[in-house]
Every structure is written in C-alpha cells, then in structure tokens.
Symmetry: C2
Subunit: 113 residues, 2 copies
Amino acid sequence: MKLTIDALSALAQETRLAIFRALVRAHSPDEGRGGLAAGEIAERLGVAPATLSFHLKELAHAGLVVSRREGRSIIYKADLGRMSAVMGFLLEDCCNGACGTVAACAPQEECVS
Amino acid sequence: MKLTIDALSALAQETRLAIFRALVRAHSPDEGRGGLAAGEIAERLGVAPATLSFHLKELAHAGLVVSRREGRSIIYKADLGRMSAVMGFLLEDCCNGACGTVAACAPQEECVS
DNA sequence: TCTATATTTCTATAATTATCAAAATATGAA
DNA sequence: TTCATATTTTGATAATTATAGAAATATAGA
C-alpha cells in the first residue's frame, strides 16, 4: 500500500502528471528506445530546469519513470509495468470489482511489475 | 485533468486511502444503504474525530465519497462511479493501453459517472 | 586542455497539508 | 426544555512539498 501511495502522490500534481502523460505518449516497449530528454520535457511544459529535476526525482522515486544517459542528455521513460501494478491494486482493492477489470498485463518485457 | 488530480491527491494519503478502502468494502449499490458512520470509521482506524472529519471532507471534495444523515450519525459511502471515471482516465491516458482495459462500467445505477 | 551544453544538487523561501484540542452545531431521548 | 451523543468547524502548530536562482557535476567537441 505504501507503494501505491507513493505512486498516487507522484501523479497527484499537475506538473508531474503532465510529465508522465508526455512520457507515456513517447513510450516504446524496446529497451534503450523511447522516452524524452529532460530538457525536451522542460521546454514542452515550460518549467525551470531545477523544478523539472525535482519532479523527475519524485517520479523516479515512486518507480514510475526510469532514466538512461545518452550523450549529454538524460532520457526519461515511463515504467508502464509499475503503472500497471498500481492500476491493478486500485481496481482490485478500491473499485470493488464494479469499476472495470484488468486484462492481466500481458507478459511483455516492460510489464513485469 | 483537474478532477483526476483532485482524486489522486485525495487517495494519496495513508489515512484517506484506508478510509476509502473501508468504504469500498462496506459498499452497497442500493441508494440509502451501505457505507459507514464517521464514528465507526474513526474507531476502526484509530484517528481523532477532528482529523477524520478533515480527511472525509477532502474525499468528499474530490467527489469520491458522499454522505447522508441517519439519526445522529453521518454515513459516508464510496462513490464508485467517480472512481470508475478516474480509473478510465488513467488507463486511457496514462497507461498507453498496455496496462489493462476497462470493461466499460456497466450501466448500474451507481456507475453513471 | 578549455569551452559550451545538459542536468542535478544546494539553499532559501513560499505554499500547502496534517494534526488535534477546544468550541460549536445538530439530533434524539428523557 | 435539558442532557448526552455524533460530528464538524475553528484555530494554532508542525510537517511536508513546490519553486527557482546559483553553484556543482558530467559529457562532448574543438
């Protein structure tokens, strides 16, 4: 439940939810591909570099994003497996089964929560 | 998106998530039935009345719970239709379709978001 | 090496959120 | 009415979170 709260806290903030949504749209299931550079995110959302870095750290701490370095840039990428686990908890424990069903996350490589 | 953030903020707190989960377990689809009295929740979770009231107000403000008076007690009840709407947004916008599918909320009376 | 670029960490400050005692409000029963 | 019960509001305080300038770190290229 602590993990769920960390994830919800991370997403319960306008800038961070916007970051995460941008990363989801830029996602690729392939290792080492997809995601966005920190600077690209900062520019798109119009937030100061230090502020963006603060929020990216929050998202990373919650396990919702991972990063890799590419030259001078650091590329952030959504961890959909983690998001899937959070959704699973919410649907099962907080929706009483009445709100929907998770088609158990297909065993794609990025979906091993 | 503001609505989603309000809901996530409401659930991203240990006491409130515990309250909501208790209310989901005590849910009934019937109008005027199900839910828990504020005092009952306070006792179960061991939180001071004023603190509980603060958190219930947050959940109500986010639209995740509704209340009705019964005698001296005020009964709080989870609004699963609202929760369903939040889940729908997350699955569609934040999971890239890769994390699960919503079986579109069946048109039960409590599920008209 | 030196320089420019990309990002993070440090630091201070502002803003928001959580807690709970005490007082206020609403209801039902005697 | 008056009293006891259930809950909320007020108000004060503590704790957490958000913002961003300035300095520090890491990389690539000249």
